[in-house]
């Protein structure tokens, strides 16, 4: 069969749909060809390469706008003289209150950063974006009052920019920086911080199942039921069927109509046409019905459960900062004056070369492909090596642990002239991912190949993302 399909969208001129316009078979051919192209782009079938991966290129799907950071802090911070007491503490100065690696996705030129702080006046708060390869500053902006206040805690924000629209996702280091040079001991609250690609909010109204049922009409709009191996029941049509002078019969029109209805339900996630209930369910009909089963997804969800070449987006999942540190790598923990209840955790001698676990979260992962050859969970960890550390950065490794797996990666070098080091891991087929539709415990830790001294290294933050093809 010479399957009719367009490589680019053709569309139908309005004049060809007017009353009294001739019914050309070419018009129907172009409609079916456009529908076939849409099917290929969302499923990856028929060797389609311009697939819907939400990657920012025009025509490859809407950007997803996933939040990058949504972290509660609920800590006290103070601009104290950190040098008094405690080993490896530093003098006051440029201090990263929060700092973490983040994944900046393709197609997004700007990032909005906000933090809720009390008592920040006089400390020149800035949002800073650093290169993950050199540690140098990519962009920075003063954090300004956005007009939201809770008690003495004000929300301050700024927008960072890459200067151009990135064509691929990349790792960066994001920080909120204050200048604690004018030191005074005064505990103030830090409530939360956020980072997200800015959007305008557009009110969009859907309908729940009860509202759909109440709006039922007498019109019949039949969505064909997908087979066991289909995400949607889409019928190809031979181009010869649209030859000039051939009759246009009801079978042809019905097939095209049902293709459109199948795509509608698959794309929108909503019953198609005038239907009040779904035809598509995430289930193949055998065993217990489970509408949420990601293993049989019959909606656009990028699971590759039914289409082996289905496009996969790149999705940031979590980015978490572990506490403040001075920009020169000195610590801010100080029993007398420093940030006694909030500082980047640091290594101790006690455990020698044992794993040091730092934090853990229970996260619900996106419905990732089940095939072990395509799971691509990736992570990154950021540390600061103390300038007078007894251990070299190359003796340290970061370990990311999930309920089902772990991955250890060694640090190789400091970033440029900074005391920062970053390492990435994951990306191996089947690694770290225990399966869909489940909550997993994820934790980050450090290991040293030689016994350190107290405060040699501080873990600053980590992030997790899913990297599509």
């Amino acid at each position: 069969m010479a399957r009719t399909k367009n490589s680019t969208f053709s569309g139908t001129p309005i004049r060809d749909t007017d009353v009294d316009a001739p019914t050309w078979t070419r018009v129907l051919r172009e409609v079916q060809s456009d529908l076939a192209m849409i099917f290929d782009r969302v499923t990856g079938e028929n060797s389609e390469t311009t697939t819907i991966n939400h990657g920012g290129t025009d025509g490859r799907g809407a950007l997803l706008g996933m939040p990058i950071v949504n972290q509660g802090l609920f800590r006290n911070w103070s601009a104290a003289s950190f040098a008094s007491g405690g080993s490896k503490n530093g003098a006051s100065g440029i201090t990263y209150l929060v700092i973490t690696p983040i994944l900046w996705v393709a197609g997004e030129p700007t990032l909005r950063v906000e933090i809720d702080l009390a008592g920040v006046d006089g400390y020149s708060p800035r949002a800073v974006l650093l290169s993950s390869s050199t540690g140098s500053e990519v962009d920075s902006a003063d954090l300004e009052d956005v007009g939201v206040q809770h008690g003495d805690v004000q929300t301050i924000g700024a927008t960072l920019s890459l200067g151009s629209v990135p064509s691929s996702a990349a790792l960066y280091i994001l920080a909120v920086e204050v200048d604690t040079t004018f030191a005074r001991v005064r505990d103030r609250r830090a409530l939360a911080w956020r980072a997200f690609h800015p959007r305008g909010l557009f009110a969009s109204v859907g309908a729940n199942a009860a509202q759909r049922a109440s709006s039922a009409s007498a019109m019949s709009t039949t969505v064909p039921t997908p087979g066991a191996a289909q995400g949607l029941a889409f019928s190809d049509i031979d181009a010869a069927r649209f030859a000039d002078l051939l009759p246009v019969d009801g079978g042809l029109l019905t097939k095209i109509n049902r293709n459109a209805l199948a795509l509608e339900e698959y794309l929108t996630g909503w019953p198609a046409g005038a239907n009040t209930t779904y035809t598509h369910v995430d289930h193949d009909g055998s065993g217990v019905a489970d509408d949420t089963d990601p293993a049989r997804s019959r909606f656009l969800a990028h699971t590759r459960s039914l289409y082996a070449s289905e496009p996969l987006p790149t999705i940031p999942i979590i980015a978490h900062a572990l506490g403040p540190i001075l920009a020169d790598g000195y610590r801010v923990e100080d029993g007398a004056n420093g940030l006694v209840d909030w500082y980047a955790p640091y290594s101790l001698t006690t455990a020698g070369t044992s794993l040091r676990n730092y934090t853990a979260h229970r996260v619900y992962l996106p419905d990732l492909p089940l095939s072990s050859s395509t799971s691509r969970l990736k992570w990154a960890a950021l540390v600061a090596l103390h300038p007078s550390s007894s251990t070299a950065i190359t003796t340290w490794s970061a370990r990311y642990t999930t309920a089902s797996d772990s991955d250890t990666q060694a640090f190789t070098a400091l970033l440029g002239s900074t005391q920062l080091a970053i390492v990435t891991g994951g990306g191996t087929a089947g690694e770290l991912y225990g399966g869909p539709d489940t909550v997993e415990r994820h934790s980050i830790g450090l290991v040293c190949s030689t016994t350190p001294t107290d405060g040699d290294i501080s873990l600053l933050g980590f992030c997790l993302w899913y990297e599509g093809t």
């Binding site: 909010l201 729940n208 095209i256 109509n257």
Partner: protein, 222 residues
Amino acid sequence: MRLIGEWRHLDDDAFKAHSPALSDVIRSLAGRARQLYELATGHVPDDERTTARNPQGRVGVDLSGPPWGSAMRHPIAWMGDRDEGSTGVQQVAPVITLAAGASTTIGPWRVWNRPHARPQGGSAVAPYSRGFLNVEAKRTSGSSTSDMIVTAWEEGDQGRARSEPFTLADSSSIQSVDVGASGAWIPLSSGWTTIFMRIENNSPNSVAICSIVINQIAKRSH
């Protein structure tokens, strides 16, 4: 606008043999094809958009929940700094510690939730309109089980979600509790949303809360 783009459905009978060959038939097929193209690709093929803007104010399905696609499931917000299994590390104390019989309120916690479509009126059923709690906690003293209750609400008190009591069995390890699984969820707005939580320790033991994650878990509806 040069190319037809309409969201007009017709009854199945309109496409059958012996039905009148009305222009509506072509108009419906061609118009919907154009709209499906915009929804799938986010691209406008001529000079005028024919589909509605998605909740982010842009074009195309963004997987934020119907009618903008099956929603993705992932963490929305998170907090917590300590893995109670740590050794050889100097860490700050857990964010929340509760003495026996004590309670605490956390918030305001300002969060950026993904913009999403919501039904007009009625309770929150759309994906992203509810956040489900997953908590890591540990009994730090005492010997009996620890009964905890978490209550969460959105600023403005649009409805409080209160969990059933959950227990921490022992002090030898982290206890992970999916509080939301029992039916408790936080109502979340589209875009900025401010959350409060109250955690009650109704036990004779001291408790440390190590991590709280708010997850989005619905694909098409709650």
